[in-house]
Symmetry: C2
Subunit: 285 residues, 2 copies
């Protein structure tokens, strides 16, 4: 008897880059829970409607997805895995459309932000923010979109019977999005001797040198800080919540570093301990 | 004989929060150069079309304005001043509109991001991104906007003859935007004994502990790091450019700290030395 497929919540629709990330982690036999907004991913997982949530957290051209940092901070879910997806953007239209017909180009704001050069080279085109790349292709085919073309994955054009007018619209070929998988339970600890990534969130006491002291807990143990992201604290202007990723080995001095970091910080929480997407280096493949 | 008014480039239109920031710095006798996009501010100043550019860099609820960090990095302009503007958002409509008529609410994406609770409380309202708060009020009155209401400053409603349907839409009353003024020349050095803010940008060599070492140049001299923001390096996935603000005093150990920081970093550049908006503390008024 086979197991029922795992339910995975994504923002967007079948054929989106988030769908590709979900398939990378769990294979193609998954039951997808498409969500219009990012916060609905977190609610779907918290309520049990989905077993996993797939959350884009950072793009190598456009930078962090702020809203998802904020959502990781307020929801009590665990980060259980990390995936990297190569992002190649196409200009997608209905099969009867030629480039000269296109005035408005719709896509998710993160996708638009990765194609700034394309818009600079085509000043007559208007960028129209939409909720999803693949969902916009579907809406385009159903003539429910106030645009003549969409920026999105070639896979979405195939799925919905649309045509690809141009390929590789992204500002740089080295375009990757890093996704996190979130769940209600922690991931099993990475095997001893393998690489482990630890995501933590904390605030700091006031005063000079507090961030330096906190990062010292990591640096003095030879661990690699692969990411630091600061987000504002609502109601306390110019105070920040810090999100930090540390790369270590599963039997290294990680717990000692975390205890020391916790001693320097306030509101400290481990978001997750998991295997890094690329097997240990902090660079893309 | 009076001097001609200073020309100041802003993103957006008369009545916007950027306009308020320009008036805060230079008074109301200015000649405004309204720009649809942020990068046009930088081009206007670089070309001499404007003497100053006013750049929103960070909001205390929504966080950094990424694009403007990237533009500070690629343009060779100097940061010469900092201003803080209290941001109060109103729901603005044509005088004959009542709340029940409103389906789509347009505003700049940064303004929409400061009013998440308002949209959560009104799930039938659709947020429509637009290029400017004040410009959208003007377009609303001219019936050139695909929306029935705009989120923006009360001042814009007054200016363009629109009505305020609701006030204080922002998620939290402590809502401030920090603006930077950019110019072709450096600012005069702040007077000895007064507070000085220094903005720098740099990348780091690979390897564990490099950020900790760089921040040590600041921390060991008792200087206050008020901001750290990382932005991706195009074409080098998961490598970052760091933007750092340091608060010191104009005759303190600042130049020693900068020399030491430069020794730890790569591609180091001072963006500007200027008087902080709030006279020395790193907190909002």
């Amino acid at each position: 008897m086979s197991h029922p497929p795992i339910t995975v919540a994504i923002q967007g629709e079948v054929g989106s880059f988030s769908h590709a990330a979900a398939v990378l982690l769990h294979g193609s036999s998954i039951r997808l829970v498409p969500c219009p907004e990012f916060d609905e991913i977190f609610h779907a997982v918290a309520s049990g409607e989905a077993e996993r949530g797939i959350v884009p957290i950072e793009n190598s051209l456009a930078g962090p997805v702020h809203e998802n940092y904020d959502l990781l901070g307020v929801h009590a879910l665990h980060v259980v895995a990390e995936m990297q997806v190569r992002i190649r953007h196409c200009l997608i239209a209905r099969p009867d459309t030629v480039l000269a017909d296109v005035r408005r180009v719709a896509s998710h704001p993160m996708a638009l932000a990765q194609c700034r050069r394309f818009f600079a080279a085509h000043p007559t085109l208007e960028a129209v923010p939409s909720y999803d790349t693949a969902g916009s292709v579907r809406d385009l085919m159903a003539r429910h979109l106030p645009a003549e073309a969409v920026i999105g994955p070639a896979r979405a054009a195939e799925l919905y019977g649309a045509a690809v007018l141009e390929r590789d619209l992204e500002d740089h070929a080295d375009n990757f999005t890093r996704f996190l998988a979130v769940a209600r339970e922690e991931a099993p600890a990475p095997e001893r001797g393998t690489a482990a990534k630890i995501s933590v969130v904390f605030t700091l006491p006031q005063g000079p040198g507090t961030l330096h002291r906190a990062l010292g807990a990591i640096a003095t143990r030879g661990l690699d800080l692969t990411l630091i992201e600061s987000r504002p604290v609502a109601g306390r202007p110019w105070e920040y919540v810090f999100y930090v990723d540390v790369l270590g080995s599963a039997n290294g001095p990680v717990s000692e570093a975390l205890a020391s970091l916790k001693g320097c910080a306030r509101d400290f929480r481990v978001l997750g301990v998991y295997s890094p997407a690329d097997g240990g280096t902090s660079r893309a493949p």
